[in-house]
């Protein structure tokens, strides 16, 4: 598989997403009379805004050839930290700062283990997946902790510009910033380089370790932000907050055309995929499919989003007459990491 082929395919993948999105939108419009009103669209966004925010940073993580399973647990942890500190009457802004610092610190710790100790990110973030939620349990046990100051819950629930809430505005700002960084900055290019071939990146003088630490630290920070916003929206925190969100988040990113093997993907694809998944869930709710089954459908979508490109590219390889493929392919990033 040449890189050109993959990119041409990707372009088609994005047009496929647009098509799929239009179908889902059309269904929703026919089923609900006031579907396209600003209020309804804002509500729709609001329901999954935290996942959408984390999906932005997960795009960077997966393009760099890694994975972060700990994001949802980090959301729960940051929310629990805010709730616990609020309960012990700490100044609320200070509590938020502490929670963000925890997110940044633990994210950087993940990055340190991946980049410097050289452990597979799946194993490291699996520990975080279990451990961070475990820490959240230590802080708030099995209670439901609320009692946030009024401005905090208003921030999460009330619109600032019409029905558009702070979270939605923040999401669009972050999406713009993430898109610019990924596609128009040196750092973004380094993310792709590290993801497509870490060994080549090292020999080309790319600071691979630093890039990875920055990505994981940001992942922790953004997850913490999302967790705090989620706490503000719900008004109460349990240790099971945001459980299973990593499934939706990873699905969104992969469905957006980002390759699980790293090095391939675009922010436009991920944004399209966010809109698609949001509208799909909305459509399923209209069609009377419950939340639990929706998760199953998302899981199916996750598998298909990888399976279909695989089958298509295999079929292409079979039907197109191409010169004999080189005998030795470049090692995949994962094998490179195990050596380092």
């Amino acid at each position: 598989m040449g890189r050109i082929d993959a990119r041409r395919y990707l372009r088609r993948w994005e047009s496929l997403l647009v098509l799929f999105l239009l179908v889902v939108l059309a269904y929703n419009i026919t089923q609900v009379s006031n579907f396209l009103t600003a209020q309804n669209q804002a509500n729709l966004f609001q329901l999954s805004i935290e996942k959408a925010i984390v999906a932005l940073i997960m795009t960077f993580v997966i393009i760099s050839g890694e994975i972060d399973l700990s994001v949802a647990s980090m959301m729960a942890l940051s929310a629990a930290v805010v709730a616990r500190l609020n309960e012990s009457r700490m100044e609320h802004v200070l509590a938020i700062v502490v929670a963000l610092a925890v997110g940044l610190g633990l994210g950087a710790l993940n990055g340190f283990f991946v980049a410097n100790v050289g452990i597979n990110s799946l194993a490291v973030t699996l520990a975080g997946y279990i451990g961070y939620r475990g820490l959240a349990q230590v802080f708030i046990e099995d209670n439901s902790v609320g009692g946030f100051p009024g401005w905090f819950t208003r921030l999460g629930q009330k619109g600032i510009i019409g029905p558009i809430t702070f979270s939605i505005i923040l999401f669009f700002i972050m999406a713009a910033v993430a898109g610019v960084i990924l596609h128009y900055s040196g750092f973004g290019r380094r993310v792709y380089t590290v993801g497509s071939n870490a060994r080549v990146a090292i020999f080309s003088g790319v600071p691979v370790a630093r890039t990875r630490i920055i990505i994981f630290a940001t992942s922790g920070l953004v997850s913490a932000i999302a967790g705090i916003l989620y706490a503000a929206r719900l008004g109460a925190v349990r240790s099971s907050t945001a459980q299973g969100f990593e499934l939706d988040i990873i699905t969104i990113v992969l469905l957006g055309g980002v390759s699980i093997f790293g090095g391939v993907g675009s922010m436009v694809g991920v944004l399209l995929s966010i809109f698609l998944v949001l509208n799909l869930r909305n459509g399923m709710t209209i069609a009377g499919i419950t939340g639990n089954t929706q998760t199953g459908v998302i899981g199916l979508l996750l598998i298909l989003s990888v399976l279909i490109p695989n089958l298509v590219s295999r079929a292409q390889g079979r039907f197109r007459r191409t010169p004999v493929e080189p005998q030795f392919q470049a090692p995949r990033p994962e094998t490179v990491q195990s050596a380092g």
């Binding site: 997946y129 279990i130 598998i303």
Partner: protein
Amino acid sequence: MTDRLLRHIRPEQFRELILLVVTIGALLFFWTQIPNYFDPRSINRLTVGLAIPLVVAIGQMMVVLTRNIDLSVSSTVGLTAYVVGTFLTRNEVSPWVAAVMAMLLGCALGAINGLLVAYGGVPAIITTLGTLAIYRVVLVEISGAKTVTTGDLPGWIGSLPSKTLVTVRDYDLRLMVAIALIVTIAGYLVLRFLPFGRRLYAIGSNPDAARMAGLPARRDVFCAFVICGGLAGLAGFMYLVRFGNITVTAAQGLELQVVAAVVVGGASILGGQGTIFGVLLGVMLIEILQQSLLRWSGLSEFVKDAILGLLILIAITVDAVVLGRLREAWVNTRRRDRAAARLVMEGGADGAD
């Protein structure tokens, strides 16, 4: 000193030794902290608690050996427990038939995973994260939020968990524990002596090399997933027998404990590395910690998961840092020994190396 040690012990064995010492250390520590820690009742409770995670972990380990992972096991356990339980409330069959049914259902669920991973080229983490949700949804859908209750089940279910094979001074060997031990021994024999078992190691340590060497890598990975599913199915039957009441959330979160046990037990998440003995120790250590921390008044039950996460982190870090060095030293020692032997054979000829 390290040289002499390394001549006799491989680094991997050293790792198991550490784990054994830690496990015994944990047992001794809780013995000093908790009164009557080694009395028959609490030991029996420990061994019974071990049985289900152990069976699932043996299957999980075979998948992990091939550089894959199966996160869907908990949903497989829950789904088979529920389906077989529902079947038993309506039909009269012997325990054996029920157990085989559960295993077959588990195999089928594992085969779906295996097909997608081995033949569809979908990474295992993606596949099983998806099927973790899908199998659970299937369970929710077919149950209609109804629960299988002990009262509806045939009588033998109630007596099976306490069925004891051997009793030595009040220490029981329960049937459930015996099944788990048989699975463990079978797993050991398969991985140690069967070509299939050896191939799993080969595939995991270098998938490309295994394929180029002509090993049926796809078929073997598929088989590993089927075995993992089958054992999860067996565990589902054991779950049904042990608890009787099966809700839609049955066995939720078990996958974490099992993957943690396999990783703590020394199986590398990058494949090709790990032993059944290590997994047995990993399952034991985690079960001991989970049960004993609850009873030890110094800690609340809420620190359980935090400690589990920390334990995994410690295990993989020790694996990466300490064992990496040990392995290097081991190779160097052997190289030096061989060089020395060659020197002796060549009668001390100069210009060696």
